[in-house]
Structure formats: structure tokens, C-alpha cells
């Protein structure tokens, strides 16, 4: 059973530099949310604020009644047991083998015997495709492997909230597809709340139940995926469709001249909304909704051709 994360009016500055201000959103329990945003907009900082590694200047993060932003160190360590976190570069302990890395949380926080631990570790390593690499040191493997090992370690204590920082950077397209399917299957199996930070448009379009976009020091939009994918709001449409036309430039914001020059152009039409990935393990996710439901309920006409593509998950019917 996942836990809900309520973020209200969160503001973070480093010195005088505002990273983002007044961010409010709720990660619904048991749902997968994706956080998007151009590089350097503070997505990783946001993730770290949710686990109390970085203290915000204002606002609160409430998980199971505890405010992460203001609670005591002791409470923080308690609440963190609900979390599994995959850091941007995997954050493997460099002096331990992958096996020991993945076993580490179990050895620290449970009284399980070594044979029980072995069973759990091997299960998670198989899940993330790391069989055969148990005895390698983190320095000896590729970035993508480190990332998958980080994921295995994050999963080992059956977290209720999974925070994942760029699972797909440094991964080839095939592995990215596998890992995306893995998230969906995991969500179905353990029902945890997921927050995935990513740059990958394909991930953002096919995996989550909710999408958020951090842009220009604030949360531009957060809501159900169909809401964002059908949104004509320029920033959202530009980012979700990887276009050059729009308010986001090469540097953080385009300058006024360039925007004025573009003002005459209209945004290109939205591409069709693809179907969301479905679990491949025969389970049903609690947060799963019929394709197009949000659009119907809110009277939004999705772009033509939406939801007509074949379902990506093997074995699932349309």
C-alpha cells in the first residue's frame, strides 16, 4: 500500500538563487507520477527535498502526517524507511560489491538470516537484469548497470514510496523500454507511490498516471497524464512534444526578441496521445484508468488518432 505525499507551497533557494518557488502538488497514493523539466530546473533538488536531504526555505512535505521539512532528525529516519530512492548516478557504495550493496539495507534494518537475504537479493537482481554481476564493484560496471543496481537496492525493503532520478539517462533504448515496463509491473505488484524524474519524452508519455513540469523556477503544471498530453499550454506542449517552437530556449528562457518573432507562429498541432503501458504480469494497477477517461470526463477532445495505437504490453487486449 503506497503512501500519499502532499507538497504545499514549497520554496527552495541556495543563497540568493531561487531554485523553485511555491510548488504545490499531491502525489496520489499508489500512482506513478513523472516530473519533467529542462536541465538545471531543480528536479533532483526537488526529489531530495521530499526525503529531507535538503531543507526547503518555505512550505511543507507531509507524508503519513509527518512534515519532512520541519520534523526532528529521529522522525526523519523513521519516515525514510518508507522510501526507496534511486539517485541520478546510482549512488552505489564504492567499496562494496553489487551483491553487498543490494543486501546492505536488509543487513542494516532486518534480522533476516543470510540465506533469506540471499534469496531476496537474487530476486531483485534478477528483476533488474543483474544476474552474473553480483561480485562486481560499482567502479567496474557501466553507468546503466549502476543505475539498475541502485534500483535493486531501492526495492529491497519493499518501499511504499519510490523516488527515481532519471532511470533512463545513460540507458540504451531497449533497456529503457524494459525498465519502463518494470516500473509498471512493480507498481502493480507492490502498489507503491512512484515519482520518476526524467528527460525521456517517451517515458513521460507512456508510463505515468500523472505528469508534472518544472519550468522557470515554478511548477508549470501537474495533473493526470491525459490532461498534460492534451494541453495546449505552450510550455507543456513544447516540452512534451520535444519541439523548438515555444517559450523554452537553449538557455533557460528565450529572450524577448526571439519570443516576439515567434509570436506570429502558432504551436504545431498536438500529436495523438499514446496508450499508457499496461502491466505485463497479468496484474492490474489500482491507478489504472481506461484510455481517454480523463478527456471524456472533462470534455476535452484529445488530438485526432489518440489511443488508437496497439497496446505496448505483451498479451494485453486493446
Amino acid at each position: 500500500m503506497g503512501a500519499e505525499v502532499q507538497v504545499s507551497h514549497l520554496t527552495k533557494k541556495f543563497g540568493k538563487q531561487l531554485i523553485w518557488g511555491d510548488v504545490s502538488l499531491t502525489l496520489p497514493a499508489g500512482e506513478i507520477s513523472v516530473m519533467l523539466g529542462p536541465s538545471g530546473t531543480g528536479k533532483s533538488v526537488f526529489l531530495k527535498t521530499l526525503i529531507g536531504l535538503i531543507k526547503p526555505d518555505e512550505g511543507s512535505v507531509i507524508i503519513e502526517g509527518v512534515d519532512i521539512a520541519t520534523c526532528s532528525e529521529r522522525q526523519l529516519y523513521e519516515v525514510r524507511k518508507l522510501f526507496g530512492v534511486l539517485f541520478q548516478d546510482g549512488a552505489m557504495f564504492g567499496s562494496m560489491t553489487l551483491y553487498d550493496n543490494v543486501a546492505f539495507p536488509l543487513r542494516e534494518h532486518t534480522k533476516k538470516s543470510e540465506s533469506q537475504i540471499r534469496q531476496i537479493v537474487m530476486e531483485k537482481m534478477e528483476l533488474t537484469g543483474l544476474i552474473g554481476a553480483e561480485d562486481k564493484l560499482p567502479g567496474e560496471i557501466s553507468g546503466g548497470m549502476r543505475k539498475r543496481a541502485g534500483l535493486a537496492r531501492a526495492l529491497v525493503l519493499d518501499p511504499q514510496i519510490l523516488l527515481i532520478d532519471e532511470p533512463d539517462s545513460g540507458l540504451d533504448p531497449v533497456r529503457t523500454a524494459y525498465i519502463n515496463q518494470l516500473f509498471i509491473d512493480l507498481n502493480a505488484a507492490i502498489d507503491a507511490t512512484f515519482l520518476i524524474v526524467t528527460h525521456d519524452i517517451n517515458t513521460a508519455r507512456t508510463v505515468p498516471d500523472n505528469i508534472g513540469l518544472l519550468y522557470h523556477k515554478h511548477l508549470a503544471m501537474f495533473g493526470p497524464r491525459e490532461m498534460l498530453l492534451s494541453s495546449t499550454e505552450p510550455v507543456v506542449a513544447q516540452f512534451l512534444n520535444a519541439q523548438r517552437v515555444g517559450p523554452i530556449g537553449m538557455s533557460e528562457e528565450k529572450d524577448a526578441d526571439q519570443l516576439a518573432a515567434e509570436a506570429g507562429f502558432s504551436m504545431p498541432p498536438l500529436p495523438p496521445i499514446t496508450r499508457q503501458l499496461e502491466p505485463s504480469n497479468g496484474l492490474r494497477r489500482r491507478a489504472q484508468r481506461p484510455a481517454g477517461q480523463w478527456c471524456r470526463e472533462n470534455g476535452v477532445v484529445p488530438p485526432p488518432g489518440s489511443f488508437e495505437d496497439a497496446v505496448a504490453a505483451p498479451g494485453a487486449s486493446a
Partner: protein, 258 residues
């Protein structure tokens, strides 16, 4: 602007002091990380022991040469031994130890923590509910203290022996005079204060190194900067502390009458 010039170092000093208290508090938290402590102590020994010997021999020799030459002009060769004791045991031992602990052990610790910081290992550890100060810093700090004391002993022995060799073999002093003058000036508190000094040095060097490493920022370059700063800060700090402890010692323990 003018405030920043004062405020920035003050913040570092404040942060360092708070960190030191954290380390002391965490020391008494159960369970003490014995394995990590032993591993680290061994590691520090391996990086310091050879340089220590190579620093200590010339230290003793230079003192014997300089002081020996001077004293001979006064016609008081018989006091070369005691001069070596005073210089090596009281000052050179702890200072050489400080240089080695800060230079070899401190830089290794700072680099290690810096790398862990930028690889987000420390964050990962905290998220897994483990306090890196308790788990990683405390064992390193006390390993450093232990090794500093041991190194101080080694420097003293090697230094005095080196002094003996130069004085007796090369400068034609007599062994009897060298050894006899030991007991004329040296006293047990000399050894004790040297031990206490080296303990303080070991502690400070490890705390500064860990603090700087854990607060490294900005990628690999940040780690280099952290190592560099930690060595510079430690050196400065240790020489100041050495002076203070020596001054206090002189007040507390009267020199031995002759």
C-alpha cells in the same frame, strides 16, 4: 561585502565546531563500528608509516647536527642527548606526526568523503536510515587518534636513535654522555604531553578532513578543492594548537632542575 569577508570563515569555523560535537556525541552511540575502526587504522598506518620513518631520521639527525655543532662550541657536548630529547620528544615528534597525519591520512580521508559526497553515497546512506557520522566518521577519527599516538612514539624512537647515531658515530660524542644527559633534562610529562598533543592532532586532522570532504561540492574539482583546503586548514590549525599546548605545558610542568 565587508561582512562577507568575516562571515564566511566564521561560518566554516561554526560548521566545523558543530560537526566536531556531532562526532563526539556519535562516538558514544551504540554500536561502535569496530571493524571499520580497525580497517581504517590499518589503512592509515600503511599510508603513513614509511614516510614517518623517512621524516623522523633526518629530523633527529638535523637536530643532532645543529645542536651538536653549537653545543660543542660551548664545550658542552654532554648535553647533546638532552637537547635531542627536548627537541624531538617535545616538539618534533608531535609536529612530524601532525604533518604526516594531515598530509597522508587527512588527504586520504577528505578525498574518500569527497568522492562519496559527489557520488551521492552519503545521501544514499542517510536515506537508508544510517548516519554517516556514526558509521564512517567516528571510526576514522578514532583510528586517526590511535595511529597518531603510535606514530608519535615511532618518531620519538627513530628520532632519538637517529640523533644518537649522528652524535655518537659521526660527531664523536660519547654514548654515555648522550644517554646520561637524557635523564638530566627529560621527564615523564614530556612524553605525556607529546602523546596528548598527537592525540589532539589526530583528532583535529580527521575531523577537518571528514568535514571538508563531506561538504565538497561541484563535481570532481570540488573534491580536489576539499582535499586541498582540508590539508591547509589542518596544517594551520595544528601549528596553532601545538603552540598553545606547548605554552600551557611550560606553565604547568616546571622544567627539571639540573
Amino acid at each position: 561585502m565587508s561582512l562577507g569577508v568575516v562571515a564566511a570563515p566564521a561560518r566554516v569555523a561554526g560548521g566545523l565546531f558543530a560537526f566536531m560535537l556531532d562526532v563526539l556525541v556519535a562516538t558514544f552511540r551504540f554500536p561502535f563500528q569496530i571493524r571499520e575502526f580497525l580497517q581504517q587504522a590499518w589503512f592509515i598506518v600503511t599510508v603513513t608509516i614509511i614516510p614517518t620513518i623517512f621524516v623522523a631520521i633526518p629530523f633527529g639527525a638535523v637536530i643532532a647536527l645543529q645542536v651538536g655543532g653549537l653545543i660543542r662550541q660551548f664545550g658542552a657536548q654532554s648535553f647533546t642527548g638532552s637537547a635531542a630529547v627536548l627537541a624531538v620528544v617535545r616538539e618534533a615528534g608531535p609536529i612530524a606526526t601532525a604533518l604526516l597525519i594531515a598530509g597522508a591520512a587527512g588527504s586520504a580521508i577528505a578525498a574518500d568523503f569527497g568522492a562519496r559526497r559527489i557520488r551521492e553515497e552519503l545521501d544514499a546512506m542517510m536515506v537508508l536510515g544510517i548516519d554517516p557520522i556514526h558509521r564512517l566518521v567516528v571510526p576514522r577519527v578514532w583510528a586517526c587518534v590511535l595511529v597518531a599516538v603510535a606514530l608519535n612514539g615511532l618518531v620519538t624512537i627513530v628520532g632519538v636513535a637517529g640523533g644518537y647515531f649522528f652524535n655518537v658515530v659521526l660527531q664523536d660524542g660519547t654514548p654515555g654522555a648522550y644517554i646520561a644527559s637524557f635523564s638530566a633534562l627529560a621527564q615523564v610529562p614530556d612524553l605525556l604531553q607529546a602523546m596528548i598533543k598527537s592525540m589532539i592532532f589526530g583528532f583535529l586532522a580527521a575531523v577537518v578532513a571528514a568535514y571538508k570532504g563531506m561538504n565538497a561540492k561541484g563535481g570532481p574539482k570540488g573534491v580536489g578543492d576539499a582535499v586541498n583546503e582540508s590539508v591547509v586548514i589542518t596544517f594551520t590549525l595544528l601549528f596553532v594548537v601545538n603552540f598553545v599546548v606547548s605554552a600551557v605545558y611550560m606553565q604547568l610542568v616546571p622544567p627539571k632542575g639540573m
